[in-house]
Symmetry: C2
Subunit: 584 residues, 2 copies
């Protein structure tokens, strides 16, 4: 039997990894809730119509599609096989019939075909109906063609392309052989037709290909896909529940997402996203609270050396205006965003290649070189961008965020106004954030920003502005692992293992276990009667902190041996004292 394996790019999280992940997730969840965010969960599967077109072509390619059910797929394949068989048969017979009708009528038909108006299902239907019901085209085979196409159209297996192929095939044959075939016997027509069909294999394949068109089949068999991020389901939820939602709506969502990306180190096909968003208010209090939440998360995770980079799309647009680069913002921002990776020279080269003049590039670097504290940089930029409405909106908003932080009695430690932060070509329109841990070579562990219109993609007229932040759990995990920041308690499983020597001491131990658990102490008993060594080994392997050893003597005296498994120290104490020590 084959050894079981995991699908590429997916992971199991065993107990020790789970304990650490839960430490991160519980920390973040608690902070989200302290700040008034409420949980939302959406299903793993969404309709493809919800997902497609939201992440660009590349994103659509990376959607995991879910097959509707095993049965449909084989059904549809049988339909295709049967239908294409009958279709070709009936096409052949249509041609026979065709040469049986009066010449004049036939020429009209050829003319009609040449206009190629048969590409729309309704027109083809109408045409067939006309010829069928007026009895100009007679017989079982026309009927068969009619019902076959009818069936294919109704079962959504035939699309316009398919009908165009059929019309093209029929009209090409008739055009090619119109003169050649007149006054021939049915056998002769059949012969020529067979030869024609086999010689025009490509045409035949296009027809079959149109039926078994992968996209057509895929859309038939798969109407669902796995969630690609948490933002689109959130927007979908807001649109669907708009009337029950109280604005401003503060939700957080912690769930896995799936991407059919090529797996590589640190990139998985299933990973958790951890988002908090406020929609329905433009207040910069939300931005300030995002900074506060990030600070609190980092503090609670024991991460001290990090920076929260903050910028504003308005500042970036102001820079573009000032440099006279309006219309070329994308090239500009993409290049700026790479400053970290490719350095000043690299950005210089890239911008030159993109057609920026050297005075523009010099101007840019002068701006990016603005030095000083956050406030100083803002003051300086306010002057430089004085003529740009966007620029002033940006610096104004950022100033207010810093002011608000003060009103919260918080400082701007760790917060860095970074003019070069662009956050790709994303849909952000206001403040943008990114968090980096300075001691490790790991990308940003958190990012987010303000957007203008959450529900636009779903055709919502109401303009719902919002701002959100997302934490990268895998990167936080890797960083904390590298920096050895997980508290020791996180690693242990149960706190106490009750050990025993025989059924009598085990029985006594069960009552103790009840007391320990009643006090909320995670604890267990070695279930089988076995050697003490085996029980202590079990505790060691599972990193259980204490062993409570119950022997005959302990049962009599009530003074129990409690052994600290790390230090090896052991004491004799009553169960009440032990519980008191372990709880406090």
């Amino acid at each position: 039997m084959e050894k079981p394996a995991l699908p590429k790019g997916t992971r199991d999280f065993g107990p020790s990894v789970m304990a650490k992940r839960q430490f991160i997730l519980t920390t973040i969840r608690t902070i989200f809730e302290t700040y008034g965010f409420q949980p939302l969960e959406t299903p793993a599967m969404e309709n493809l119509s919800t997902l497609t077109g939201k992440y660009g072509d590349e994103g659509d390619q990376l959607l995991f599609r879910v097959l509707d059910s095993g049965e449909f797929f084989s059904d549809s394949s049988v339909v295709v096989a049967k239908a294409s068989h009958y279709l070709i048969q009936s096409m052949k017979h249509l041609v026979y019939e065709f040469f049986a009708i009066p010449n004049e009528e036939r020429y009209k038909f050829v003319e009609y075909l040449q206009k190629e108006e048969l590409t729309k299902p309704e027109i083809l239907h109408k045409w067939l109906q006309k010829y069928y019901h007026t009895n100009i085209l007679k017989g079982r085979m026309v009927e068969s063609l009619y019902y076959n196409i009818d069936f294919l159209v109704n079962s959504h297996l035939a699309n316009e392309n398919f009908l165009r192929q059929i019309a093209g095939f029929i009209s090409k044959f008739i055009k090619d052989h119109s003169s050649n075939l007149e006054n021939r016997s049915k056998e002769e027509i059949d012969h020529i037709l067979n030869y024609y069909l086999i010689e025009n294999y490509n045409l035949l394949y296009s027809i079959i290909g149109a039926i078994v068109n992968p996209k057509l089949i895929r859309n038939q068999v798969s109407e669902k896909g796995l969630r690609y991020d948490l933002t689109v389901p959130f927007a979908r939820y807001v649109v669907m529940n708009r009337h029950e939602i109280t604005l401003p709506f503060k939700r957080y969502q912690i769930q896995p997402v799936w991407r059919a990306d090529r797996p590589q180190k640190g990139r998985y096909r299933e990973f958790y996203q951890c988002d908090a968003d406020v929609v329905g208010t433009d207040s910069l209090i939300c931005e300030a609270e995002i900074v506060l939440m990030i600070k609190e998360v980092m503090h609670k995770l024991n991460i001290n050396n990090y920076s929260i980079k903050i910028n504003h799309r308005g500042v970036l647009n102001g820079i573009a205006e000032t440099l006279d680069a309006v219309g070329k913002e994308n090239d500009l921002f993409v290049a700026i965003d790479k400053l970290d990776k490719i350095g000043e020279a690299g950005v210089h080269t890239e911008l030159t290649e993109k057609g920026f003049a050297s005075n523009q590039i010099d101007g840019l670097f002068k701006l990016l070189g603005t030095k000083g504290s956050n406030r100083e940089k803002l003051t300086s930029l306010k002057t430089t961008l004085a003529k740009s409405t966007a620029g002033l909106k940006g610096t104004g908003d950022l100033t207010e965020v810093f002011d608000l932080l003060n009103q919260y009695q918080a400082d701007d430690n760790h917060v860095e106004f970074d003019i070069a932060l662009a956050r790709g070509l994303s849909y952000y329109t206001g403040c943008i954030f990114e968090v980096k841990i300075n001691d490790v070579v790991i990308g940003s562990v958190s990012g987010g920003g303000r957007y203008d219109n959450l529900t636009q993609a779903f055709g919502s007229k109401e303009q719902l502005s919002g701002v959100g932040i997302s934490f990268g759990i895998d990167r936080l995990y890797d960083a904390m692992e590298e920096l050895k920041l997980f508290p020791k308690e996180t690693l242990s499983s149960s706190k106490v293992l009750v050990c025993h020597f025989d059924e009598t001491t085990r029985s006594y131990g069960l009552a103790l276990l009840t007391q320990l658990r009643a006090a909320g102490i995670n604890s267990e008993i070695y279930p089988d009667v076995t050697k003490l060594k085996k029980q202590l080994d079990y505790a060691n392997k599972k990193m259980i902190a204490f062993c409570l050893v119950v022997g005959e003597e302990e049962m009599k005296s009530g003074d129990l041996t409690i052994k600290n498994m790390e230090s090896g120290e052991q004491e004799k104490l009553t169960i009440n004292t032990i519980i008191h020590k372990l709880v406090h």
Copy 2:
């Protein structure tokens, strides 16, 4: 634009539902951890080879299959189209070549074909190699056939059936025309061949059909499926990590599963399962702890009127032995299991239909009618089943479980030894459990039992016995909703909303907010400066318990107005007093 919708059978969990679900899940999770169970998470997607064959044919049908990626699908379709085109072309040319070789050699080949040994890829390869390399069959087209088949075989698009179709096609043609085609010109052969191909469309379709065989494509495009339960992924995890796992292994797992079932009231296509299992020990301590955990879960969820039904497969097998119904256990247990639903008369009818004699049925009802306390019923059954090894094992185990409960200082309140509990045709081998809430018409909210061999399905030689319990979150939720058992605190979002009148009071409020949150009180501020009424409305709609109203006067005095949103009462208190009151 189409209104967005949810896939059939799936749900969003909005904030208020989430709060209640989290109450249930946190309760269960905490109890699992108190009992020494450790968390495990496995990926949503598993390889189909892991999933199929584990849930019976019906289960296999209900698996949601995931397409490997968008790209592959269209790739494979192109491959199929191209390959079938070239294949048919090269088959034709193979036939031309064939009639160019000496008669004697050709007859040998026909004989060979008639034996139809070409159905295995290796043999077809070998055969083609022989003819290709000995230059008996020459030319580009044989080479093309060779490489085409090679390609199809290597890309796993050709299976045995496909190769059988090709061999059959070639051999049929050659047999049909062997005499007819001798000494003809290439053009004549071509003509006959074309005619043959088109007349034998069915054959051609079988060939194309074999390539676009739905199962073949499905297995090509889908090697993954969504998790159907948590037991199979758990078993897969244990097999894959056997060397790192310390036995006994106690894991719990709380994750969604997916089933392509027809959605209906209370049955969803995505739902959470919540399992705890111990593997690697036969100790009945595990069974006793399952009873204790259920009791604790029900207690913490405020559910008081429920019963934990317990039985043992040994008891059931003992009954079958005693009734002389060995070999008919399934019919017997299935019928017994329905006692609740169809009553005694119904079971009687069903058993009669299944061919049970009336003395067997009378004997059964006498056994099922055993009255008394759990202990009394066990004592009585020990006598009745005295001759059955299985029966005595069952009653013995159950007695020990009740003994162990006493040793834990627990009673058997709520626990009911139910001889009629069978738990379907599942893989349980020892104790079985089922929990019902008595006040509501909802099926069992929990169930489980002991099984002999967790990892057998993965070919593991080691026999890992275990016992597990599963809670039905949706049913628990529905029951608690119906019985109004969710604590009021669960329903609220933030505990405090800070309200204000202008920027100055809002600014003062921000500092208060920082203090509230530092004390761990979930709280928020209305972000925009707006009318007090709107802020209080917001608090009401979100069921925020208290509003802390900051006016000019409050700012001066430091005596803040705190309003209880439910009672309407308001007091003037300092922030420290407020925090003290809210925390304790």
